[in-house]
Amino acid sequence: MRYLPLTPADRAEMLATIGARSIDELFVDVPAAARKAELFDLPLHAGELEVERELAGLAALNRPAGAGPFFCGAGAYKHHVPATVDHIIQRSEFLTSYTPYQPEIAQGTLQVLFEFQTQVAALTGLEVANASMYDGSTACAEAVMMAQRVTRRKKAVLSGGLHPHYAATTQTIAHAEGMEIVRQAAAIDAEAAVLDAIDADTAAVVVQTPNVFGVVTDVTKIAEAAHAAGALLIVVTTEAVSYGLLKSPGEMGADIAVAEGQSIGNGLNFGGPYVGLFACREKLVRQMPGRLCGETVDAEGRRGYVLTLSTREQHIRREKATSNICTNSGLCALAFTIHLSLLGETGLRQLAALNHAKARELCDALAAVPGVEVLTPRFFNELAIRVKGGAARTVEALLADGVVAGVPFSRLDPSAGLDDVLLVAATETTSTEDIQAFAQALAGRTA
C-alpha cells in the first residue's frame, strides 16, 4: 500500500524490539468478542489510477456551475478565484501543518491569521475579529450565544430576512443552550418588523443585509432601537464581496458582524468547507468565541504572533468555555486573506461594483420578460423575482434549456408560502450571453 512505509522486515524487527511475538499481542486489551479476524465487507486497496477513475466518474455525473448559465446564490456564490490562491494554499507548510500551538515554528500561519483578523475588522467596520469560524451559519449561532453572555438575557429576535438555514442552525444550537429564539416570518422587506419585537428581555437582534431576498438595508435605526433596549445588534452577511460597495455593519451601529467568507478565495465545494467571519466591538472581545491571534515579542524582542486569550477556549476552561469549538477554518481563512490581499481596496471595490452592475443587467433583462415581477427594491448582486407556475418548476423546466435559473425560496423554507419566489444571483463570472440565455428561456417558458 503506497501510503504505508513499513516493510515486513521492519515490522518483524520492531516487534522484536517491543518484545511482542505478533501484532495481535498489541491488541490484547480489545475484548475478544470485538476482535475481528476477517476483513470488513468493503473493497480491497486500489491504485491511484483506479481511484481517479471512480471519483472522476462520480464528478462527471454533476453539472459544475461553470458549465453554462448559472444563477444560484442564497448563501454561496460563484466567483473567480485567482490561480495564485490555490497554489499557495497547497504549499506543504500551510496545507500539512497543525493549529499553531508551537508559535516558534508556526509564524507563517500566525501572521496570516493576524492579517486575516485585521482584514475582517476593516471590512466589517468593527475593532476586532477572530481567526474564523466554521462558516457563516455557525458564526451566526455563536454570535447569538455571545450576546446572551454579554447581556445576560435569553431572547434573540431573528429577522424574517435572515437566511432560513442560518435561522434553523441558530435555533438548533442556541436553543440547546437554553435561549429563546423568536424567528420572524419570511418576508421580502422584513427588517422593519424586528423593531416591534425588541423588548427588555432581548439579548440580540439578528438582521441580514443584503438579506436572503437580496434586499440591502440601512440598519442604523434598528441598531438604535436595540441599544435603547440594552440589546446587541448582530448583522449577518452571506456575500462578503458586498462589503466592497455597501456601508459596513460597524458604520451602521452593529455590535457584532458575522459573515460567510466563501465568496473571497474559496470555491463552492457543494457547501463546504467555507469560512465564517466574526467581528465585534473591542469591549466585547473577552466574550468572543473562537481562536484569536495576537501580537507579542520573542525572547530577543522581535515581533511575533501567538494564539492568545485562550483561557476562553475549551482546552483550558473545559465546561466553562465560551464555546465548545476548537477548530477554525484555517486553510479557507488563508485563501480568503490571499485573495483579499490580491484584490486590495481598489480591487475589492471594482469587484463589488462589477457584481452590482451584473445584477442590474440581470434585473433589467428579467424585468422585461412578460409575467416576471422583480420583488427586490434595492439589491447588491442577488434579487428575488416572482415567476408564474412556481419557482421550483421553473428551475426544473429551464434546466432543459441549459440554464440553472437560481434557488427557489421554497427549497430554503417550504412552509413560508413563497413558492413562486425565485432567488437569482449574478457575479463577475456572469456574462451578458448568460443573462440573455436566461431571459430568453424564461420568456419561452412563460409565454
Binding site: L26, A65, E104, V275, G294
Partner: protein, 527 residues
C-alpha cells in the same frame, strides 16, 4: 602546462567561525523578516485585472459605503513572495515527523487534493438542482456506507464540520432521544477525568451538568466509580476509546452495559479511531454515537487549524433523531432531504447552513478507497506498532506513564524522569524544535504529571522513527547530564525564539492599526 589560477575560492577556509553571527538586516539567510501586508505600502495596488462595470451604483443611494475600508493590495509577484516567505516559517508533516498525540498528523496524499479539485466537486453549488448533483450525492452515500461499515453502526450524520461540532451533534441526538422517550429530565453527563476538554465543554453547552468519573491506576475508567455515579439523572457518558492515555478501555463492553442499564446513552469520542480502524467496530462495543474526525483518521489536511469534518455515526436508538440533511434513494435517483418538517419529525434540527464539508468528504473517500478494507486494517496495525516501538525505544531513558502492557496508537510519558534536572516538559519540547521535530502533545491528558503524548502514526517509516527516537534519547541524556541551558533557552534555531504569551494576553493586540511599527499612516480615500 597552462596555469589558470584566477577565479573564486572553492574551499570554505576561514568560514567556520559562525557562532553568534547575525545579519545586518534582521533576516536569517533564506528566512527573511517579512512585514505585514499593511506595511508593504500597497494602498492603491491590486493584483487582479477586472472588467469595468457596465452600470453604476446610483440605484443604491446612501447605502453605498463612502468611508475607505483600509485594505492594502499586492501585485501578484508581491503576493506570491509574501505568502511563500511566510510559509517557510511553519513546520509541517511534509517536513518531518509531527508527533502530536491525539491529533493524528499523518501523511496527506496529494491524490485527495487533486480529486477534491475536480470541477464536478469543487465547482458545485450546494443549492443547485438535485438532478445536476447526482454524483456528489452518490459520493456522500458511498462515504456514509464506508463509515457505517467500518464502525458497525446503522446511521451517520455527515453535516458536522469538525470534531467538537460532531460532539455537539451527538449530544443533541441523545437529548432529542431522551425527550422523545419521556426522559427529558435527565441532566447529567459523566466524563472521565482524562477526557478532551471539548467533552465537558460540549456537555455544558447543551445544558448538562458534568460529573467526572475517576480513573484507575492503570489509566482506564474506574468501573466501580462509574457504577456508583450512574443514576436515573444521567443522560449519557462520554468516553474516548482508545482513551487519551493511549490505552484501550478493556472494560468497554461492561461500560456500555452499565450505561444502557441505567437508561443512559454511550457517546464515544472518536478522536483516536485511527488505532482500531479496520480491526474493531464501535458498534460491537455498545456505542450509541461517535464522531469521526476525517482530518485525523482519514487524512484530510489539518491546514494550520481547519477545516475539519466530524461526521457522527449513530446507533439504531438514535438514528431517527439525526439532523438534516441526509441522502435518500428514490425513483428519480438520490435525493437530499433538507427539511425535517414532514419526513422525520424527530430530527433535532440543523447543524449548519448546507450539507457538511463536501471538500473533506471527497478527500476522505479517496483515502478510504485507496486503502480498502485491507489497507485500513494495516493502518491501525502500523499505527499501533509504531507507537509501541517508540515506547519501547524511549522507555529506558524516559518514564512511560503506563509501563505495563501495550499502548495503542500513542505512547504516553510523564515527567518523573526529568526530576532534579531543572528541565520541564515544556523545555524538553522546545529543545525538540532545535532538533527539527515538532513537539509532542504536552501537559495532556491532565491526569498525568507533565504529560508527553507521542503519536507517530502509520505513515512514518522505521528510519524516521529511529531518527526521532535517537534525537529524544540524545536530549534526555543532555538533560540528565546537566546541560540545562540547551533546554531553558530553546528553541535557538527556530524562526523565532520563545514568545511572550503573558504580554500578548495582558495587552491584547489583535489587529494591525494605522501607525503601528513606525509605518506612517498611508493615504487612503479615493486614490
Amino acid at each position: 602546462m597552462t596555469m589558470l589560477n584566477v577565479g573564486r575560492p572553492t574551499r570554505p577556509d576561514g568560514a567556520a567561525e559562525s557562532a553568534g553571527h547575525t545579519s545586518l538586516t534582521g533576516g536569517r539567510g533564506l528566512l527573511q523578516d517579512e512585514p505585514l501586508i499593511f506595511e508593504l505600502g500597497g494602498w492603491s495596488k491590486t493584483g487582479v485585472d477586472l472588467a469595468a462595470p457596465s452600470q453604476d451604483a446610483s440605484d443604491l443611494g446612501d447605502l453605498v459605503r463612502s468611508a475607505p475600508i483600509g485594505l492594502p493590495g499586492l501585485s501578484e509577484p508581491e503576493a506570491m513572495r509574501h505568502y511563500v516567505r511566510l510559509s517557510q516559517k511553519n513546520h509541517a508533516i511534509d517536513l518531518a515527523l509531527y508527533p502530536l498525540g491525539s491529533c493524528t498528523m499523518k501523511h496527506n496524499p496529494r491524490l485527495n487534493e487533486k480529486m477534491a479539485r475536480l470541477a464536478g466537486f469543487a465547482d458545485l453549488h450546494p443549492l443547485a438542482p438535485q438532478s445536476t448533483v447526482q454524483g456528489a450525492l452518490a459520493l456522500m452515500d458511498r462515504l456514509a456506507h464506508w463509515l457505517k461499515t467500518l464502525t458497525g453502526m446503522p446511521a451517520v450524520a455527515l453535516s458536522p464540520k469538525a470534531g467538537a461540532h460532531g460532539e455537539l451533534c451527538g449530544l443533541l441526538c441523545i437529548k432529542a432521544a431522551h425527550e422523545a422517550n419521556g426522559q427529558g429530565h435527565r441532566r447529567t453527563v459523566l466524563v472521565p477525568t482524562s477526557a478532551h476538554g471539548t467533552n465537558p465543554a460540549t456537555a455544558a453547552f447543551v445544558g448538562y451538568s458534568v460529573v467526572e468519573i475517576a480513573q484507575t491506576q492503570d489509566g482506564r475508567v474506574d468501573i466501580a466509580d462509574l457504577a456508583a455515579k450512574l443514576s436515573p439523572d444521567v443522560a449519557a457518558i462520554m468516553v474516548t476509546n482508545p482513551n487519551t492515555c493511549g490505552l484501550f478501555e478493556r472494560d468497554v463492553i461492561e461500560i456500555a452495559r452499565l450505561t444502557h442499564e441505567a437508561g443512559a446513552y454511550f457517546y464515544c469520542d472518536g478522536a483516536n479511531f485511527n488505532a482500531i480502524v479496520g480491526r474493531v467496530r464501535q458498534g460491537d462495543l455498545g456505542v450509541d454515537a461517535m464522531h469521526i474526525n476525517l482530518h485525523k483518521t482519514f487524512s484530510t489536511p489539518h491546514g494550520g487549524g481547519g477545516p475539519g469534518a466530524g461526521p457522527v455515526v449513530l446507533s439504531a436508538a438514535l438514528a431517527a433523531h439525526a439532523p438534516a440533511p441526509w441522502v435518500v434513494s428514490g425513483p428519480d435517483g438520490l435525493r437530499l432531504v433538507e427539511e425535517t418538517v414532514d419526513e422525520a419529525a424527530q430530527g433535532f434540527g440543523r447543524m449548519s447552513a448546507f450539507h457538511g464539508q463536501m471538500g473533506m468528504f471527497v478527500r476522505a473517500y479517496a483515502y478510504m478507497v485507496s486503502h480498502g478494507a485491507d489497507g485500513l486494517r494495516q493502518v491501525a496495525e502500523d499505527a499501533v506498532l509504531n507507537a509501541n516501538y517508540v515506547k519501547a525505544r524511549l522507555s529506558p531513558v524516559m518514564s512511560p506513564a503506563f509501563p505495563e502492557g501495550p499502548c495503542m496508537h500513542e505512547a504516553l510519558f510523564d515527567d518523573a524522569w526529568l526530576e532534579g534536572t531543572g528541565v520541564t516538559t515544556l523545555d524538553f519540547a522546545k529543545a525538540m524544535i532545535d532538533e527539527g521535530f515538532h513537539p509532542m502533545t504536552m501537559y495532556f491528558p491532565l491526569v498525568v504529571h507533565g504529560a508527553m503524548l507521542i503519536e507517530p502514526t502509520e505513515t512514518e517509516p522505521k528510519q524516521e522513527l529511529d531518527r526521532f527516537c535517537e534525537a529524544l534519547i540524545a536530549l534526555a541524556h543532555a538533560a540528565k547530564a546537566g546541560d540545562a541551558d540547551r533546554f531553558k533557552g530553546a528553541p535557538y534555531l527556530a524562526p523565532m525564539r520563545r514568545l511572550d504569551e503573558t504580554l500578548a494576553a495582558r495587552k491584547p493586540k489583535l489587529t494591525w492599526r494605522r501607525g503601528d511599527n513606525g509605518v506612517a499612516p498611508a493615504p487612503l480615500a479615493a486614490e
